[in-house]
């Protein structure tokens, strides 16, 4: 029995395409489509990452709300200075007016959370 000669991989693919009758133009389309889809996914993921980075971090918003809550409480009770929530630090700094102090809430890594003027108790 005569043995069928061995074919390399390229010849196999060509044979397969001949059998399936796939034109070359379709191949080009597939390649272009895959490239376009890849670019789309790349752009979308980039947009998503940048947009989530540009909005404030949820934790920062939470801390800001806590600081605001303490400031309102201090204003209504006319406290000497507002209270400091957990995870925040409060620094009192001089303002141009002697009778005013700048109260600044800082978060992690000295990140400024909120700044509010306060009266200086005499």
């Amino acid at each position: 029995m005569a043995q069928e000669p061995k074919r390399n991989r390229t010849e196999n693919i060509v044979m397969f395409l001949k059998q399936k009758n796939i034109p070359a133009s379709s191949l080009a389309e597939v390649v272009i489509a895959i490239s376009v889809i890849a670019i789309c996914i790349g752009v979308a993921s980039l947009v998503f990452v940048r947009s989530t980075q540009s909005t404030m971090n949820f934790q920062d918003v939470k801390r800001q709300t806590e600081a605001q809550s303490e400031i309102w409480k201090g204003l209504f009770l006319q406290s000497e200075e507002p209270e400091v929530p957990d995870e925040l630090t409060l620094k009192a700094e001089d303002a141009p007016l002697d009778s005013i102090v700048e109260m600044t809430y800082y978060g992690d890594k000295e990140k400024l959370i909120w700044k509010q003027d306060w009266w200086r108790e005499k």
């Binding site: 489509a33 889809i37 979308a44 947009v47 989530t52 540009s54 404030m56 605001q68 400031i71 204003l75």
Partner: protein, 414 residues
Amino acid sequence: MRAIIRNHKVRSSALGYSISFLLIVGLVASGVLFIASANKRIEWHYSLREHVLMDNYMSLLYGSKSPKNGTQTLVHSSGDTSHITTKNWGAYRVVVSETRHPSWSSTRAAIVGYVAEDPLAALYVPDRRQTIKLCGKTKLEGTIYVPERGLERGYLTGKNFAFDKLLDGILKKSEKRLPPLADWVKEEEFEHYREQSELIEWFDHDSTFSFSQKTRMISSKKPMYIRQHLAGNLVLHSFDSVVVFNEAKLENILIIAPYVRFESGFKGSVQVIANEQVLCEKNVRLLYPSTIILHEEKAIRGGFPRFVRLEEGAQVLGGILLKSDQPNGRNPLRLEINHGLVAGLVYNTGETELKGSVIGHVYTSSFDLQAGGGKYGNYLLDATISSKQLPNEFISPLWLKNQKGTEPKILSCF
């Protein structure tokens, strides 16, 4: 379905799919971008508004702590600018703060009172060598200053003193005169407000006047009848009388007239400056912060008696002041509280007939009681005077000369 597709030969290509996908991804990406930018803008907007509101409220407190009246400007570290105006308004002060940011502004006004440095006496009666007799269910609570002869149990209209103790508090000896009034109280008169106000014509519809503008005054030579809703920076003045009907709604306004009458059932906050008579009929409620000042400028020569009268169920939350430039011993000023309630400070250079309650402080030259067809001097019958029951948050007017105000308290904010 497959058969339909085969029959109609619906064809597609990879490029078509990819364009559709491109469109979908583009839409999603634009949506994400839009949401992100909108979120950022909303966050920025609310943060800005929060800053303006906080800076404005802080400026309001800053203005109330300022001892002088006038206008001042405050530039905040956030970049907001506040204009603060402070002025006297009856027995209290008004502070107006307007805070501006290029894209937003906030204006707020408040009536402010001051916590007295030293607590006031529950009762002060000058020493004229008299004894104060307590009858029925009379209750005295707090520190009282009375003549050297002090307090005694009394008997009137079949009623003995009902309790074991005459006083729940501390008894001290009083001086021969009432503590003097503060100088600014003398300015509380028509001329003072006319200089500051802009006259407007009478109108009979509802209206609100902002404290950020100049005070408006309606002045009339005829009696004035109030039935509408009036609020804010307004002075109602009549050379004859002002009658406030029970359907009227008044908030923080001033009334100046020789004679003022509140019809039975009226409810509102108002400050009254009268020369002759003030009558609060049954169940009138002058809400906090309200005051009545009766200032007798000329002595009575056989005319009407000068009095402030609270009928049954009437309430004044704030204070009542009766003073005379020319006191007449035969026709003294009279304060009559007939089963009514006053919360705050009562100061009377004349005589007081107390058949109700004063939760706060009573400074009076003498007590007088009409009961059982007779008139009795320095008797108290079924009366309550208590400074202990007055809440700490309640701010009385600083009418006394030696009273020093310390911490400001916002009584009403609008």
